[in-house]
Amino acid sequence: MAEYLIHEHDVLIIGAGGAGLRAAVEASAAGVEVAVISKSLLGKAHTVMAEGGIAAAMANVDDRDNWRVHFADTMRGGQYLSNWRMAELHAKEAPARVRELEAWGALFDRTNDGRILQRNFGGHRYPRLAHVGDRTGLEMIRTLQDQGVHLGFDVFMEHTIVKLLKDGERIAGAFGYDRERGRFHLFRAKAVVLATGGIGRAYTITSNSWEYTGDGHSLAYHAGAALMDMEFVQFHPTGMIWPPSVRGILVTEGVRGEGGVLRNRNGERFMFKDIPLLYVNQTANSEEEGWRYTQGDKDAKRPPELLTRDHVARCIRREVREGRGSPHGGVFLDIAWIKERIPNAVEHIKKKLPSMYHQFKQLADIDITQEPMEVGPTTHYMMGGVRVDADSQMSDVPGLFAAGECAAGLHGANRLGGNSLSDLLVFGQRAGGYAATFSQKNSLGDVDTAELRSAENWALQPFERKGSENPYAVQHRLQETMQELVGIVRQEDEMLRALDCIRDLRSARERVSVDGNREYNAGWHTALDLYHLLTVSEIVTKAALQRKESRGAHFRDDFPEKDKQFGLFNIAVRKGANGAMQFSHEAIPPMRQDLQQIIEEMK
């Protein structure tokens, strides 16, 4: 007989980052009973790593900004694969979500007249990111956490979900374990919100923490929900590359927003060499003009360093491949040079980019106010995720919602910097609200005890096996496979090889064994996370094989051009009746006339 603790709530939220906490605040405010599952301690989610800011067209710095411009920027950045309704809601609602954070105690940097300051970021036409130095994510999560503490929702810290439960077609709850003692828990709920973040741990070089193993993606897929846009994995152009132990740690785009420039080993500003057609009209013609833009000159256009992340990452890769890289295989990111332009540059840099200063000083012995940083691309963000209704964030499974990074739609083929934190707030709020409403209209679903027993047996298998596979080693092999074969530049034969490797690793996972007992056993947790990681890795690879073109974050060496036909649909995947992955091409619905007009006007 399965042994587990039972919890009952109206709304269960899986994930305690920005989206999960915002959803929890909203659902609690609606008066329903809410539980939040947090894989780590509360307040440690990956949202704390967000540095640059929250994109919201508040027009505090440049009064030409408004939701229409933000909408057009987001659609252009996403290469027109984004769900236009989500992009519309996001652009319209982000300012209110930011002001709400302020009313809950967040303290953003200010303009001279005392309003919320906004900074430049890649792909945004006007200064748009509300920020707190370079630790905006921490400010956001702490504000939501402190607001939530007094709302009285239940938080299950250091708990992990291994399976979603359904009653017929609809959601009925989730099954998981606690890290501390390894006990199993049944969470019954009328509605479930997935807010689990990304999949970065499928790659060797990543800015993501151990938690980002695609749990929400995999849980939703196995529960029968459709995922889409899974071929679009964002490689952030600037991660640390030296020393090896810090490889992948993020260097904020804010460095470039403050005037930082990219150079190759010859000292050349290589970003000027290749400016995509979509952005020619918005990009500076000279280094001088680019500098003026970063200093707030409204007549100047932005420097090419602030082009979208997909493009900058590929340009860096090109410089390295063609022998113009830095000593450790990246390029140089230089903010120290601004001392040629402004007095007290050293103090200015420390004030605007305190975490970056600290991070390089402490981890790499580099003083960024005096010398350039070495940077290279790092796996950063998953554009793809659970396919949801734009307004309610509900998936194909009634009662199952998704918000934030684990949901698809807003970012299309490439996410703009700053659009993630705003995504978490706008769609976290919506998911929480709609989930609460759903829970008020439905009762608790029934749970199949035989299903729980089999989930428990499955989860305990690594203890019973006397196999030869080490879970950490299997994870490591998967990461190398994805990094080498399904990375920033892809081609068919490599991805087919990746699928072979993934098949082998799947059987290796079935031989994984772990030592010790169930209490706080990291080896056991890794063995269970592997299931999700393998699921999403296979989906990413298969979706990438299907998209025979290059668009946004997805670049194919064998199909280097954009193909109009591929701009007409999103690639979706569902688990078929026989358990096999079924891919489909979902036509993008025609854009509403008024939105279409905005796109035309902003070209």
Partner: protein, 249 residues
């Protein structure tokens, strides 16, 4: 490649002991890298808490050669590797397993602190106007990553176990962030004096020394709060003034 010995606390609530692990070390490595390497190759069930590995989330707090530190920000070249490096869990909290402690008390304390309460909005659009300099003073406190190293080192909590009477430096910083917030109109001075136990701090500044964010905990947060409490409750003139104006105490 050089090797070094790492003496790691292994065990659960009931019992534990140091165990030595030899590990290869390379340029630029931090203590958390070594712990991960040992976990992957020699001790699969080694319990360690970590997340961002970049000094932002405050999860990997431990005592390294007796000093409370973040494992992810402690580079090996700052340690003497010719003798074993000891890595132990924080001492001020109940032990769970290996390097992991039960820090749930901190979450309970936070719930006691009255929440942010803003003054009515200044501007017609329902927002506020705040000067940058007023923001900066409080931003120092809001940098806190809740690693609880200050709680770990505070002798009121660590030696005297006064968790029931004293909220500790982390939460005095939190109260300071609220009390000095340019918009906040809440009043937490009475709580500070009574249930938060600010009088128990005798400003030895141990907390300030271990803060990985460099927050001047004692000078900028605790001492100004102590001054406010003294002004409110122990200054005879203002006490008399309050009798006549009947303001709240």
């Amino acid at each position: 490649m050089a090797t070094a010995t790492f003496r790691i606390w292994r065990g659960d609530k009931a019992q534990g002991q140091f165990r030595d692990y030899n590990a290869e070390v390379a340029a630029g490595m931090v203590v958390l890298d070594v712990v991960h390497q040992i976990q992957m190759e020699q001790a699969g069930d080694l319990a360690v808490r970590w997340n961002c590995k970049a000094g932002r989330c405050g999860s990997c707090s431990a005592e390294i050669n007796g000093m409370p530190k973040l494992m992810c920000m402690t580079r090996l070249n700052t340690l003497a590797l010719d003798k074993p490096v000891t890595i132990e869990p924080m001492k001020a909290f109940p032990h769970l397993k290996d390097l992991v402690t039960d820090v749930s008390w901190n979450y309970k304390v936070k719930q006691l602190i009255p929440k942010f309460k803003p003054r009515p909005a200044d501007a017609p659009d329902g927002t506020w106007r705040i000067a940058q300099e007023d923001v900066e003073r409080v931003q120092e406190f809001r940098k806190c990553i809740e690693c609880y190293l200050c709680q770990d080192v505070c002798h009121v909590l660590r030696e005297h176990k006064m968790q029931e009477q004293f909220i500790g430096p982390r939460f005095l910083v939190h109260v300071a962030a609220l009390e000095m917030h340019p918009l906040d109109v809440g009043d937490r001075l009475k709580d500070l004096r009574t249930q938060f136990g600010i009088g128990l701090c005798n400003i030895t500044k141990c907390c300030t020394k271990v803060c990985p964010e460099g927050i001047a905990i004692t000078d900028n947060a605790i001492i100004p709060l102590k001054e406010r409490v003294v002004d409110r409750f122990f200054d005879p003139l203002s006490k008399l003034f309050r009798v006549f104006t009947a303001t709240k105490t």
